[in-house]
Symmetry: C2
Subunit: 202 residues, 2 copies
């Protein structure tokens, strides 16, 4: 397809497609003389992925490039490429307290999870616990264990079926699912509070 | 205690305390002649609650006043006062699609929850599902059911022990727990993805 059709089918404007191409986020099309080029389905898939990383994931171009490098490196498994996208998505947090870090590490070990206890996600959990401590509203160890359990239930649902998708689509799903699933989960938690309060009231 | 001590113990500045008093968020102290007043523990508890509603909950003063009215109305149960705070916290969302609203209603019924299927939280869930549809990354019914289950696990942990607290403290906990618990849950979900990706990779 020509550039115009690629733009139409992807919903990405021609100037934006040219920008992505200059930034190396989109491979060149197949040259067909006189500065014109043909694009294929893989360009369409790549544009979808870039759009999800830039739009939904709000990643800066340099981080998008790192995710794409993992997607394009066949020696990296699909799961690892998804992990790369996840890592890029995670906010950089202040150094959490030693106490909260150790609480998180214990909770992770108790659940039998095999993850870095000082990776970006574990640090984000510890920093959030610090926030609750600072507000004099600390989370108990029992509650933390329940949160780990709830996160596992939800996380399994997020990843169900993803491995069967192609590399590009799997990483796209990892990004959109992670970011777009968040408001669903938070609103359902508030709905659960409503349900539980109602029962207490009754 | 005098105003100065109230300020020191609550961590709220004197001008802010005076502002809260003018806005009716803090009952007057006991007058002790010549424009001076004495404050007690209930003023301290109220200041903590107002601070959590304004600071952590980011509620405008008019909404804070509605939550406090529920806290002060003895005919309202503690659970209902917490529910009032929760409702005030929820963002007002666009009208969700009929399709997503019905999916949420079905998921809620399947879980046996006795909540409003067109209340603010259920609408927020439906709007978030619309967002996933728009990104061409729809959530399956199986995933939605798992999210409901995960939210129930976490919600139960949030409310454990809250009923035993006093009215003021219970509502404060409902607000801080709801808002401050969110980053803990989201970071743990990402950690769960890391764990699950790692297992798939292995």
């Amino acid at each position: 397809m020509w550039l115009g059709e690629l733009s139409e089918r992807s919903g990405v404007s021609i100037p934006t497609i040219k920008y992505y191409r200059r930034e190396g986020l989109l491979p060149p099309g197949e040259a067909v003389g006189a500065g014109r080029a043909q694009y294929g389905e893989r360009h369409l898939a790549r544009l979808r992925l870039v759009r999800s990383l830039v739009g939904v994931g709000r990643l800066p171009i340099a981080r998008v490039r790192e995710v794409l490098a993992a997607v394009d490196d066949d020696s990296v498994t699909v799961a690892a490429a998804m992990g790369s996208a996840h890592h890029q998505l995670s906010p950089v947090v202040d150094e959490p307290s030693e106490r909260s870090s150790q609480r998180v590490a214990r909770a992770i070990r108790a659940a039998g999870w095999d993850v870095e206890t000082d990776g970006p996600h574990a640090r984000a959990v510890a920093a959030a616990l610090d926030g609750m401590d600072a507000a004099e509203s600390p989370m108990t160890d029992e509650a933390l264990a329940a949160y780990v359990e709830g996160a596992a239930v939800v996380g399994r649902a997020d990843l169900a079926g993803v491995a069967d998708l192609g590399r590009e689509r799997a990483v796209e799903r990892a990004v959109t699912g992670t970011v777009l699933g968040e408001p669903v989960l938070l609103a359902l938690r508030r709905l659960a509070h409503e349900e539980l309060s109602r029962r207490t009231r009754g």
